[in-house]
Amino acid sequence: MTRRMLVALSLAGTALVTVAALLVLFAHDFQPFGPAEKLAQVGTNAVWIFAGLVAWTRRPGNRVGALMVAVGVTDLLQQLYWDAALPFTVAQVLAFASTPVTAQLFMAFPSGRLTGRAERWYVASAYLLVLVLSPINALFWDWQRTECPTCPPNLLLVTSDPQFWEPWSIAGDVILVGLLGTGVALLVRRLRRATVATRRAFAPVLVTATLASLGLCVVLAMDAAGMKTEDSVALWIADVLYAAVPLAFLVGLLRMRWRRAVVADLVLELGSASGPTNARDAIARALRDPSLEVAYWLPEGERFVDSAGHPVAVEETPSRAVSMLEHDSERVAALLHDPSLRDDARLLDAVCAAATLALENVRLQADLRAQLAEVRASRARIVAAGDAERRRLERDLHDGAQQRLLGIRLALQLARSRVPGDALEGTESLLADADAEVVAALAELRSLARGIHPAILTEEGLAPALEALARRAPLPVALHACGERLPPAVEATSYFVAAEALANCVKHAHARNATINVARRNGRVVIDIVDDGCGGADPRGHGLNGLRDRVESQDGSLVVESSPGVGTLVRAEIPCA
């Protein structure tokens, strides 16, 4: 309902109440009430109408507000005993119009919907009995004869024969008492089965309605005892209590705002819940159902399991209701709960929606973690496979081409030793040139093999390999490394970081000195390569990026500090238990 509609309805309500007040004041004294009592009744109706409008505004999607307005309006209509035959007859026909509306309000409060079969039947019966039987009743009710000789005549009267009227009159009383009794019984049954939230909402209504009924009983008792009740304190108290009933409905309804806060709390709690047990507890608290169970759906096994992984039977039984949690039409989980939670369908829906998101989130996070772990593992496997391949290549070069060239070198030496002094001129120098070529080829091949994967790293470990690296470097390199063996992947990564960084010292930094430090700290191998070169290295350069990938494949980190003019520090830290 928009604000403008509310203003319009309020104005209409005010006009209606004002007109009604005037009409009631000047209406026929059908009932033996004084003007003050009449105004008090109109005032109660006004409270119903305005409290209903407030409820309607605050809970636009809930029928309770509209029902409250309807109670006020119908109750107002039945007081309009205007002193003319037609309106008086209409007022008599509508004399009980507010009864079924009130019944509906009690049965539908606080959700605004009739949830049970019994409640629906009861409300439908109330409407049927009152709206159908009242006009039929009017056919035989000659009120001028029975109750009010001065009232306008009954236009619907067919016969004033008491033979017809008396059974109807008794039937009407029986029906009213029956409706009231059934209503109270149903209400008691509803409240016994209701959720705590529904009972909370009902509490103010029950208190005020009971007090108002007690007040009425006192007034009736005073009446029966022949005491004057008009303008008595007891009557005033009863009136005020009656006028408080609609306010109690409003208060009860607004207390239900608390339910939304519960859902908001649940969303927050589920967001920070770290395990399935916490999630279950949070949902159980939000629904106030300590018996609640969460059954997780396993798509692979096509079955439900509890948080410990044990199979759970997910079936509706008279004592157990099932709410399926689905996301994008895929099952996420099921909530097994007390069937009474269905009374509060909106709360249940909201909690289910929040729980679905949270549980789906938990599942996605678990999926993501598993995928991440798999990606990490496969990256490490790729690097390890690459290392193994490098070792194989180095071995192949060593066993293949290198051995053949060595054979050729020996053969050339042999040939040179056998060339006689009177050989064709130049033969000896030709052989010497060929020998020099083979020696150069062998040197290149050794360098190539070492670059692919230094044999000393495999055979001797990191420290000797770095020692060899330092010795071959074209600049003085100070090495500080302990001799213990490390896992092959850690040794290889450390070695390649040092080799690449040292190559950069020479190629780009034009350093004069370099230092390699290898240390073990807090379960990590820390390798530092420091130079005194020109600095300014690009940490995102191709070579350093390749190193970073390699280091990160082992969950390590690579840091490059290279300010222009102060040299470069390359630091790799690799986890190593």
């Binding site: 060593h398 060595l406 054979g407 020996l410 030496q413 042999l414 040197a443 070492r450 230094p454 000797p464």
Partner: protein, 120 residues
């Protein structure tokens, strides 16, 4: 006096050329072996003066064989050789029981004779 030599190397091509080169230089190659175990057996049986021993063998490491040869009755001069360089073995060469190391690409009768002479 001609040195008797045993060549232990898993590459047949190299053994062949080495044998011809050494014999041309005055050595007497008394035997060849393709792995560590047969090399040890041949040394025991043939009692060579010099063993030219490849570091990387399919079964036993050349350093280990050198140690075992040092304990043999004949105590031959053990010269390690490899297609890799001295720096590729770090400090292990210095610590080994062998008399010396000649990279394969620098192998010559003169180099071997010099080392054999030192060993005697």
């Amino acid at each position: 006096m001609a040195w008797t030599v045993l060549i232990v190397d898993d590459h047949a091509g190299f053994r062949g050329f080495a044998k011809r080169l050494l014999e041309a230089g005055g050595f007497t190659v008394v035997g060849e072996a393709a792995d560590g175990a047969s090399g040890l057996a041949a040394a025991e049986a043939l009692r060579p003066a010099v063993v030219l021993l490849d570091v990387l063998l399919p079964d036993i490491d050349g350093f280990a064989i050198a140690e075992r040869l040092a304990e043999q009755a004949g105590r031959p001069v053990v010269v390690l050789t490899s297609s890799r360089e001295r720096s590729d073995f770090g400090s292990r060469l210095d610590a080994s029981a062998a008399t010396g190391f000649i990279p394969k690409h620098d192998l010559s009768t003169a180099a071997l004779a010099e080392m054999a002479g030192v060993g005697r």
